[in-house]
Subunit: 354 residues, 2 copies
Amino acid sequence: MVVVAVDAMGGDLGPRAVVGGCVMALDANPALKISLHGDEAVLAPMLAKQRGGSGAAAKRLQVVHAPAAVSMQDKPSHVMRHGRDTSMWSAIAALKAGEAAAAVSCGNTGALMAVSMLQLRRMEGVSRPAIACLWPSRGRHGFSTMLDAGADVKADAPDLLAYAIMGATYFRNDFDEPRPRVGLLNVGTEEHKGRAGLREAHELIARHEETGRYDYVGFVEGSDLPSERVDVIVTDGFTGNVALKTGEGTARLIGEFLAETFRSGWVSMLGGLLARRALTRLSRRIDPRRVNGGVFLGLNGTVVKSHGSADATGVAAAVGLAAKLAGSGYRGRMAERLVIAAQAAQDAPEGDEA
Amino acid sequence: MVVVAVDAMGGDLGPRAVVGGCVMALDANPALKISLHGDEAVLAPMLAKQRGGSGAAAKRLQVVHAPAAVSMQDKPSHVMRHGRDTSMWSAIAALKAGEAAAAVSCGNTGALMAVSMLQLRRMEGVSRPAIACLWPSRGRHGFSTMLDAGADVKADAPDLLAYAIMGATYFRNDFDEPRPRVGLLNVGTEEHKGRAGLREAHELIARHEETGRYDYVGFVEGSDLPSERVDVIVTDGFTGNVALKTGEGTARLIGEFLAETFRSGWVSMLGGLLARRALTRLSRRIDPRRVNGGVFLGLNGTVVKSHGSADATGVAAAVGLAAKLAGSGYRGRMAERLVIAAQAAQDAPEGDEA
């Protein structure tokens, strides 16, 4: 059995979507247990309805009462100081205490990262933890990983090296790929392009191919995020967050245009009906909910950030991902690579990796 | 008649795509003349074929010989020093000399910006010119404008204010929109989010709503690029370039997935055939070639950068855009707004806009 701690009170759609997602995840995985953190007065009636219905799975769910909730407007610093009674804090505390093997929240990303860093602490060799997300791609495994998707708006060259190492370990774990290909996001693939700090990171990441057990393909561009050139895309959290949301927004726009296309006349409607099964497969293929969940890398614990607007399907995907990661032992292998890199930086006579 | 100077030698597909695009643009607009800059020995046989065929329009095209060409690998600084015999330099020189009203190139973006800045000079009140691009959107005009799409990897607060003013004037000119809505790209819409420099720009842009004749909607996210919230999205050229290429890459990936969908079985194929007209309309709607052409804003002259991989259709769109802009007088109105803003910055007692 694996226990996942879930923050019930985050998310734009409220606790009902989270409860629904938890029940879906429990149905899908008989070896899963959930501790659900939030206001018992709100959660109990929702769960009673689930337990009364088909929800035998819901018996593997236990509520942990936390009276307060973090809002999307709360500043991370405020939550760090005054947030001990929140459901988010409680979920991470369960992880820290060893009562859960992973934690999931749909709430305020900045606050979740701050609370996680405070309680779980960073792994050795990591100064800025990162959020890794999966990106549908033409690559050999159907997905690429991008990090940082928004944990920190800044990243210097040693941070980007740590992202390369963490991203490669994560991708290797997820897709059984012995040598993930790492690329550094830039505005062009030529060596002289981009900001000065990026050229320093370029050399550092190239030098650590063996430490990180990856193949470095050099600079990549935004158009390479879904391409077959690269498995792991490294960037700072500002650029990564803009790229992630731009890609999601573009996919949603095209999805809406496509739906309009098949309502634009009866011949097209008939065409849409005939192709319905294939179109459903397509929409699943590009559905951001399927790959819902940014994973916090670089902490002493597995935390998955679900999309704020995630519905029950999205929450279930995030909980499933957390359970899978908790059982995989990827963090031990990641720690090992990071320690080797930190050691190399200390030993380097130039001291340029410190 | 309006004359557009076209650099024949840039572009991934070579001069044949450029020549084809010029002929298409001439066919579409009887008031257009083109001066085509490049190697006469290469261009003459291509044009002879066009003139021999149906190409009466090609008689409004004149070749200006330039022996050398800028490659995609050339550094901008190298081209500035040694590039006087290139087709790119020659096209911009024609614009500077008043022999053309606008210039178009598919070549090296950095070199084109450097050569344009050197010859045309910046407008008063502009320290970093920007590239503006159009983005298909759900907005009231079907498009939003984003800048900077990649002219300069850096932009400070006064640069971002200039982008807001230039972008609003450009959008107003293109779509007859009296008060374009301007947004500043960030990783969240809350006031406290993002980098410190962005919060300064946020206040500056808000303060200049009347100078720039726009409505400022505040911070926007990557997902807002195609949304109905905003008409003009302001960002630095690093972030803007990554967003642009990510959006294009995502649209291309989904287009390919869609094509596969309609090859995935005979029922789906039949469906695709029935919906073919509607699907063609859809692919035109999301075709980046239709809106091909980034416009350089902030220079004393109209320069359009066509996509490096543009085919004849894409080149024709860029030439058409250049001709339309040249006749619109938008630069005079933009200069006026920028001078008012520069004046306000000088008069400001705090000096925080200098």
